[in-house]
């Protein structure tokens, strides 16, 4: 019973709105603009450009090898046209939480970048449209872990200790200690920030893509991306083991092991290029 109480109180703490990472005001403004179908990309770009530091960071990210555009994207408007608003929004979010992520968990930023790169490669290989959307979903898939580390540092340490002592995955340890995993926190964050459905689905279902009702393909891509980047141990997700590879995810993507190996060839090459992408 006492245990139950701990879990409920923890939940409240995690979900305390005012302590959550704040997103730049620009984002709210832009989101409103997007809701109006009459808005042009010029108008949206002009709002983002007002924040010069943010614009520079966004341009740096869209030009990084994670998105794999051969040419140079030199303006926000150009980026919006090429990548779409969802991707730019995801990048703005990742810039806002970057400092926090780097401080909260060593290696998590690299893990996220790696997963983004892998997800882009997999989506391209599977022949999906707009692979950049999958990459952004990969970039944001572990944000919930940052929230635990920032809001509940003591419990976060306990999770890390449990991972080591009991030979558990981070995800299982979270469930043991908190009563729920980062996928739940992700789902909540996604709603709170009003993220697009595909990115929300991937954030909350990357550990259980077979149970996704919506955007199953995005969930499966990020699930496989997470698995692949762990094989290379590029960065760390707080784990000392691979994640469980769901055979259903491979089936959904129409992937055989040989397809995965082609993606791994590409990933091994590209990890070198993304290894020093920061904001």
């Amino acid at each position: 019973m006492q245990d139950m109480d701990l879990k409920t109180s923890v939940k409240g703490q995690v979900l305390a709105i005012n302590d959550l990472p704040t997103l730049p005001g620009v984002l709210d403004e832009v989101t409103k603009l997007v809701e109006n179908p009459e808005t042009s990309t010029e108008e949206i770009a002009s709002v983002i450009v007002k924040d010069q530091v943010l614009s520079a960071k966004v341009l740096k990210m869209v030009n990084s090898p994670v998105y794999g555009f051969p040419g140079r994207i030199s303006s926000i408007q150009h980026g919006l046209v090429l990548l779409g608003f969802n991707v730019i929004r995801g990048i703005i979010i990742s810039t806002s939480v970057f400092d926090m992520m780097v401080q909260a968990m060593k290696g998590l930023w690299e893990h996220s970048l790696g997963c983004a790169t892998a997800s882009g490669i997999i989506a391209r290989h599977a022949g999906f449209d707009d692979p950049e959307e999958y990459a952004v979903a990969g970039l944001l898939h572990d944000l919930g872990k940052v929230v635990t580390a920032v809001q509940l540092p003591e419990l976060h340490q306990k999770i890390l200790d449990t991972v080591e002592k009991k030979n558990l995955s981070y995800y299982r340890a979270e469930k043991d200690i908190l009563g729920f995993g980062h996928d739940r926190i992700n789902a909540w964050l996604g709603r709170h920030w009003n993220l697009p459905g595909n990115i929300r689905a991937a954030m909350s279902r990357h550990h259980s893509p077979h149970m996704a009702d919506l955007y199953k393909s995005t969930c499966c891509v990020v699930h496989l991306g997470d698995f692949m980047v762990r094989l290379f141990e590029f960065g760390t997700s707080g784990d000392d083991q691979t994640s469980y590879l769901r055979p259903e995810a491979m089936k959904e993507l129409g992937f055989k092991m040989s397809d995965m190996e082609r993606c791994m060839d590409e990933l091994a090459d590209q990890l070198l290029d993304v290894s020093d992408v920061t904001f």
Binding site: R72, L231, T242, M257, D269, L272, D273, S275
Partner: protein, 135 residues
Amino acid sequence: MQKIPIDLARPGMKLARPVERENGITVMAADMELTQPLIDRIQSMNIDRIIVHGHPVDMGGAMGGTKFDERLKRMPHLFRVYKKDKWMMMVQKRLESYFRIKAAAQAARAKALLREGQSDLEIEQAQVNGNGGEA
């Protein structure tokens, strides 16, 4: 392939990727062999990292690029909790054979690179000796 800080670049290393300035303009092509003047020029352009063939510098961590033999060795550890799961064991086996092949290819390339370097050295020495002979 390895990404190295420009301070650690030495003449004789070969570029695995083109060197680009921040504005995206390529200044040196892949497969070019570095010389001291080239290294100085890269430095003066404020480019701080380049990607070269082989693993000439021991840096550890992500910058070192993927070492496939290391990946192969890590597989049993990473899959240790799935020993009773038939499917995951199958996946592990398949990945091990993948990394084994990649590791062999990587070792062969490293060897070839070394041979190339040695033969360059021999030619240089022969030139020095040869000049002595002509005189």
